[in-house]
Symmetry: D3
Subunit: 246 residues, 6 copies
Amino acid sequence: MTENTAKKTALVVSAHSADFVWRAGGAIALHHAQGYAVHVVCLSFGERGESAKLWRKGEMSEEKVKTARRSEAQAAADILGASIEFFDLGDYPLRADKETLFRLADVYRRVQPHFVLTHSLQDPYNYDHPMATHLAQEARIIAQAEGYRPGEKIVGAPPVYCFEPHQPEQCNWKPDVLLDITSVWDKKYQAIQCMAGQEHLWEYYTRVAQQRGVQAKRNVGITSQRDIVYGEGYQSIFPRVTEDLA
Amino acid sequence: MTENTAKKTALVVSAHSADFVWRAGGAIALHHAQGYAVHVVCLSFGERGESAKLWRKGEMSEEKVKTARRSEAQAAADILGASIEFFDLGDYPLRADKETLFRLADVYRRVQPHFVLTHSLQDPYNYDHPMATHLAQEARIIAQAEGYRPGEKIVGAPPVYCFEPHQPEQCNWKPDVLLDITSVWDKKYQAIQCMAGQEHLWEYYTRVAQQRGVQAKRNVGITSQRDIVYGEGYQSIFPRVTEDLA
Amino acid sequence: MTENTAKKTALVVSAHSADFVWRAGGAIALHHAQGYAVHVVCLSFGERGESAKLWRKGEMSEEKVKTARRSEAQAAADILGASIEFFDLGDYPLRADKETLFRLADVYRRVQPHFVLTHSLQDPYNYDHPMATHLAQEARIIAQAEGYRPGEKIVGAPPVYCFEPHQPEQCNWKPDVLLDITSVWDKKYQAIQCMAGQEHLWEYYTRVAQQRGVQAKRNVGITSQRDIVYGEGYQSIFPRVTEDLA
Amino acid sequence: MTENTAKKTALVVSAHSADFVWRAGGAIALHHAQGYAVHVVCLSFGERGESAKLWRKGEMSEEKVKTARRSEAQAAADILGASIEFFDLGDYPLRADKETLFRLADVYRRVQPHFVLTHSLQDPYNYDHPMATHLAQEARIIAQAEGYRPGEKIVGAPPVYCFEPHQPEQCNWKPDVLLDITSVWDKKYQAIQCMAGQEHLWEYYTRVAQQRGVQAKRNVGITSQRDIVYGEGYQSIFPRVTEDLA
Amino acid sequence: MTENTAKKTALVVSAHSADFVWRAGGAIALHHAQGYAVHVVCLSFGERGESAKLWRKGEMSEEKVKTARRSEAQAAADILGASIEFFDLGDYPLRADKETLFRLADVYRRVQPHFVLTHSLQDPYNYDHPMATHLAQEARIIAQAEGYRPGEKIVGAPPVYCFEPHQPEQCNWKPDVLLDITSVWDKKYQAIQCMAGQEHLWEYYTRVAQQRGVQAKRNVGITSQRDIVYGEGYQSIFPRVTEDLA
Amino acid sequence: MTENTAKKTALVVSAHSADFVWRAGGAIALHHAQGYAVHVVCLSFGERGESAKLWRKGEMSEEKVKTARRSEAQAAADILGASIEFFDLGDYPLRADKETLFRLADVYRRVQPHFVLTHSLQDPYNYDHPMATHLAQEARIIAQAEGYRPGEKIVGAPPVYCFEPHQPEQCNWKPDVLLDITSVWDKKYQAIQCMAGQEHLWEYYTRVAQQRGVQAKRNVGITSQRDIVYGEGYQSIFPRVTEDLA
C-alpha cells in the first residue's frame, strides 16, 4: 500500500468541536509523530448540545459559546499536531445541504487522505454524530468521482474508521482495531484538558483509554516486550487490503 | 507486533483435506514466500461428503478414498510450501471429543502461530465447517491457559481469520480483509489442480480469486502502481492491534 | 427513579391520528389510571394513507377526511384519558423540517415526560412510521440541550419505547417489555371502536392484545394470582436504570 | 396469485443508467421472454460517478456524457426488451424531492407492476444506490394509498427485490432468490456490451452470473435434467405469499 | 424445478409430538390435498415438557403420558393426511447421537423430500426446538453425501422452512413465506382439537393463523378475487431457485 | 409481579469461581441488602484457565489451585452475603452431561429464583462462559417442566440476565439494564480483593463499574437527587412483564 508521495495525510471529520479530542486524540498525535499531516474538520462547535457548563455561566450567547469552543478546539489541535478548520454548520440539529457536501468533498481532494476518522454509524443519544458520518462517507464518494470537478485529482479509497461513541454498545459499535496510543497518551491528556467546558468527561475518557489499552494487550498475537497501557478503539467500514496477516 | 523469534509461523485448520487449498491456498503460498512456516491440520479427509467423483468411480471403499484424498492434499501442501498433518476424525459428521481438543491445543503449543486460518462461523450447507472453527477456537483458548499442561510455553493471542465458504452470503460471512495473492496465484492454481476429485470447483475458485482481486483493487487507499489481479477474502474474529491506520 | 414532582407525565408521538390507539391505547389508559398526565401528538391525520374506507365513500376531499379523522382521534383520546394535539404535517409522505423539530422539542420541554412512546425504528410497509420515530428521538435530544432556548428547563433522559407495528417481524421489531393492560382493555376496545374508518383492524388488534397477553403470562417470574389476558408489547431504545432485577 | 389482467408487468428502478443491465439484465430479458412488459426508470445517467472512461476522453461536458450514457442505456433496454425512461435527477449525489417521489408513484400507478426490482438497502461505496431503493419503496407506498390522487387505480403489494450490488457482503446483501437466467444469457451479455464506458465491468459481471449459476444449481430441490449455467441473485424485502412450498 | 418422479413428497421434523400440528398443520393438509405424500418424524413425545395437563391428572407415568401423546399425534396426522413415525428420543432435554443422525438421514433418503419443515433456528424458551432443527439440517447434509452408504440414491437440495415458534420475535424468527391455508383450515383446526392435553393453545394458534392470514392478504402482489383468511408463516434457510419473480 | 412468598431469592450461575464477583458482585450485594437470599453456583474453579498467577508460584497442582480458588470464592460470597456451592466440573474446557443438567435443574427447583444471573450468550475469548449460559438456560427450562420429577414444585419464568463479559463489544453483548450499585460498591470492592490470584483485574473492574455508573446517570428519566457513581450492566434474555413504563 506504500507509494512515493511526499507526505502521508489523514482526515478527521468531527461533528462537534471536541469530539476529535476524546475519540481520536491518540490517533492524531500518534500519526503526527509518525510524520503524517493530520487535518481536522469540525462541522459545528457543539454550541447548543455540548456546552452545558458554558451556558450555566450566565451572560452567555451563542456567539460567545462558539468563540470559547473554537479556542479550546484550536488549542487541542495544536497540542496534537493537527491542522483544523471549522465549518460552523450549527448543531442540535446538524444539517448539511449539497453545498456543504461539496465543500467537504473539496477538502478530501485537497488533503488526499491515507485514512479517515469519523463517528459511529449509529448513536441513539446523538443524531449529529451519525449525520457527520453520513456526510464524511458521501463526500468521500463524491471526491472519488471523475465527473465531479473534472480534471481535478480524484481520491483513492482511503479506509474509514469509526471512532468510539460515548456509550459504545448502545450504538452497536464494535471495534475491530485497537490502536496502541501509549506513547502519545500525555499529548492526548493535555489536549483533553483544553476542554474546560466538559471537565466531567476527562476522567471518563481516561478510563476508556485504559480499558482499550488492557484489551489491546489481550489481543496481541505474540507476547512482545512492549507494554500497552492506553488504547483507542476503531470500527472499520471497509475491508483492509494487505499482504501480511500477522 | 514484531519480536525476535527465529521464524514466523501460521496454522491452518481445515475440516476436510481440500478446504485449505480452495480457501487459503493463496495465503499459505504468500506467507511461505515471506518466510513463514505454515502448518496445516486436516481434521478429516472429506471422504464421505466431498469426494463424490471418487465414489462414482466404482470399486471404492472408504479407505481407498481416504488414501486418494491424502495424496492430493499432500501434493497441494508441497506446492504451497506448507507442512501438513491429518487427524482422520471422519466427516459427515465431523465430531471432536476432549482428546481431539487437547491434540489440537498441543499443535498450537508446538507451532506457536502468529496467525490462524480456519472456516466460517456458520455454514448451513456444511456442518463440519463451523464445527472445525469451533474446535480451532476452543483449542486456541486451551493453549493459552497456564493451567493446561503447566510449565509448557503457552500461546499468545494470534489473530484468527475465517476463510471464504462456498456460498459466502448464505453463511453470513463478511470479509474485512482482502489479501493480495497475485504474486502466488500460479502456485495456488497448481495446488488446486491436485484436487482431481473436485475438478468442477477449479474454475469456480479461480473466479472467486478474480472477484476478490477486483474488490481488493477497489479498496486500496491510495492508488499505487502495483496491480492486484487475484485475491482472497478473510473475516477476522478478533480486533487487530496496530500503531498505523493507513 | 422516583422524585417529588407534582404529577407524572408521558408523551406519545403518533405518525397518523389512529396509531396511538391500536398500538398504545392500553399504555395510555393504564398510566392515566395510575395518575399520569398522558399527552398525544399526532403528526398527521393519516388522511391519504390510512383512510381508505373514508375515501371510498365518495364526495370526499382531503379536508373532509381530516375532519373525520380528527374527531375520531379526539374521541379516542377522551376515552383513554389523554390530552391530544395535531401537527397536521400531511402524510404519505410525512416530512418534517427544522421548525417541526423545534415544535416537538418544545412539547417535550412543556410536558417533561417520564417516558415516551412512538413507532418502530423500521417499517418497510410504512415510511411515515420510522420518520415519526426519528423525529421523536431527535426532538428529545434537542430538548435535552442546555443551548436550545437557554434558560428553559431541559428534559432528563426519559425512556423511549417503540410500540408494535402492523407486521412486527418484518419491521425487525422485538418486544422486550410486555405491558399488562388487562385492567384497561375495555377502555382500549372502546377507543378502538372510535376508528370507524378502519373497522377491519378492530379484530386484528384485539387478537394482537390477546397474543401479547398470553405471552406476558408466560414470562412472569413467579406465578402470581393475577391473571393476564391482554397485553401490549414494547421495544426499548435505551437501557433501563434500576435497583431491582426481579 | 394469478389473475386475469391483460398483461403482466414489472418495474425496475435504477439509480444510474447502467445499473439495470449489470444487476437485472437477466431478469428483464427472462420476463420479457415470458410475456411481461418490463419498464425501467433510470433516476440519473450516472454522469459524474460512473462514467470515468468517458471523462478521460477529454473535451467532455456533463451534457455530452449524459447523451452518451442515454444511448448506451437505450440500446441495452432495446436488446433486453424493456421500455425505459430517464428522470435525469443528477448523480453523486442523487437527491429526490416530493415531486420526484410523486412522479415515481405515478409510474407505479401507470405500470401496475407485478414485481419491482431495485438496489440494495445499504451500500457504503455508493450512496445513490440505497437512495434509489428508498425512493422506490416510498413511491410504492404512496401509490398504494387511496388518498393519493383519489379515484385513480391504486397498486397492490408487488414484491420488491434488491438486485446485487458490486461488493455484496460489504452491503449486507444476502440473496434469498436465485434466478436462472441461462436461457437469456446471450441477451444479457449483448446488453452489457452496450456499456462501452465501463468495459472493465463486462467480465466482472459475467463471472458474477457464473457464480450465481453454480450456486443456483446447488440449491435446486430435486435434481432435474435442466442445467443452470448463469444466474442472478435477489434479496426480497417482503414475505412471499404462496400455496406451494416446493 | 419440475421433474418426472411419481409423486411429490415432503418431510416434517417435529421435536415433540404436537409441534407439527400447531406449526405446520396447514402446510401438511394443503400439500396432501395437492397430491404430496407428507411424512412426519416426531423426535419425542414431549412427555416431560409439553404435557402439563396430563401430568396433573394424577396416577400418571412417563409411559402413560407417551401413549396418550402418541395417539393424539397419530389422530392428528390421520386428519391432515400425513404418515408419521416416532423416534422416541425423550424430551427436556432432547439429545441426539450419531446413530440418530443416521436414522434421520435414512428417512431423507427414503422419502426424497421436495421440501422440509422444521423448527426455528433459535428459541430461548425451548432448547429442544433448535436441537431438532440442527438435527434435521445435519441429517439432510449427510443424506446428500455420496460417501454415506455409497450406492444409495442421494437427496438433492430440498428447501428447508422453519415454522413459527411460540413467541416469534423472541426467537429472532422472521417469516419470508406466508402460506395461504384458508382452504384447509377446517382440517387443521380438527387436528388441533386432537391435542386434548394442550387445550389452552387451541385459540392461541387459531389467532396465529388469522393474523398470518391478514398479513398474507397485505402482501399479495396484485389484488385477486381470492380471499385469504388463514395463513402460516415460514422462514427459509436456503435461497429459492426460480424462473419467475411475480 | 409481587406475591406473598416468605423470601425473595436469586440464582447466579458462574462458569469459574471468580466470575460472579467481577460481573455480578454488585447485584448480589444489592439484593442481599434488599432481603433476597442469593445463591451462587460455581460450575468450575477456573483452575486451568483463570489462575495464571497461582500456577506461576511453582510447586502447584490442580488440587492446590482448586483449594485456593475455593477459599477466595467462599470469602467473596460471604462478603456479598450469598450462599455458594461448587459443581467442580473442570474448566478449559467446561463440559456438562445430562446429570449436570439435572443437578442444576434441581438447584432451580430448590431455590425458586425470582431472577437469574449468568454469562453472555457469546464470548470468542472464553468458550466456558457461553457454555455456562447454555446450561443455565436449559436447566431453567427443565425445572419448568411438569414431567421432570413429577409432583415437585416447578419454577415460574424468572428473568435471566447476562452479566458483562471482559470485552463486551467483541461478545456482541449489549446492556439493556444498568443497575445502580453505588450503595454497595464498598462490599463489591472488598469481595474483588479476595481474588488474590487475579490482582491485575481489580482496577479493570473498578473502572468498568465507574463507566457503567456514568452511563446509568445518563439514562435516568427524570433528574433525581440521587447520585449514581457505580453501576453494573446486564442484558436481558426475556421480555420484562410490567405495569409501569416509567
